[in-house]
Symmetry: D2
């Protein structure tokens, strides 16, 4: 891991989105506290889930373009174990996202 992760440039944007998601989750607590209608709570959960996935897809795109691409470039013309490991790690993270 470098000191500068792939998402350094868009850090402020990710933080803004995560703070908005925190607000959505607090809003969900208020809805449940006030015993609001189940379907309305479910609609809000779907919105928060989509917002989390959207942050994940943004991070992943930057990870491929920075960390993975750097590992590929520094592994020379025929690839190598470091590049392979980075790609496997990214694939595993994608699988977790697809299945969650």
């Amino acid at each position: 891991m470098s000191q500068h992760p792939g998402y350094a440039d868009s850090k402020a944007d990710h933080l803004k989105r995560l703070r908005r998601i925190e607000g959505q989750v607090r809003g969900l607590q208020r809805m449940v506290e006030e015993e609001q209608y189940c379907i309305d709570v479910l609609t809000q959960i779907s919105a928060a889930t989509k917002a989390l996935q959207s942050v994940a897809l943004g991070l992943l795109d930057e990870h491929l373009g920075h960390c993975v691409a750097d590992a590929v470039r520094s592994s020379g013309p025929h690839g190598g174990p470091e590049a392979d490991a980075k790609i496997r790690e990214a694939s595993d993270a994608i699988a977790r996202l697809v299945r969650s």
Copy 2:
């Protein structure tokens, strides 16, 4: 909407889970703030997403067993528009969950 939603009995449990999810989302903000490794952030996002889906599935189960079942029962032996509307509404919420 009745004064007692389907999830009245398990309200405390849902609130506990939602507070834990709020903690996960705040943890995500800290990870991004500290520029932690992308893949570790993604793993935490998958965990928070799964936790949100789990709350949604619990609410939906109770909604079917209370609100939808009540509408079916009070609509008489051959069903009726109110029961149909409740089932359609639940199906739409399920579709949003499956697609989110």
Copy 3:
């Protein structure tokens, strides 16, 4: 299980959609056979997955409106084990869909 499942009326429609999905899966085999571009294969897989989910959501809506509603109605004004079992079974199927 009755002789008439919830989806009896829309059986022809489900069969038509499933035959179209079978065509999509055969198309995928042809694409892989011809070594077509990975991304194009992935786009087709996403389309087939969405089509399968759409059949599932249709079946589930009918299942709630017929099998589950019938069990609720025949279990009397306070519910009963048969209705509870049907709702639990439907919730489990929904959870499998959301997580797949």
Copy 4:
């Protein structure tokens, strides 16, 4: 597109999986034809969906390791438009998978 897509080596394996999925979809048609119980049909649809996603994740892993890595390597030490385009295209395919 090159003559050798990223999945050339595992083509036989992907074809075998896709033929098994075709069999699952034909099995689904038979189940609906015979009016089998809705929940059993749904269980089979979840299985076929997971199998399709699994093929997609395999193709994506190979695509990252071959097509994307090749584009990154041939774009030189500072990246370039071809590598960027490949990564964007892969990210878009991942987003479609996550959302389907």
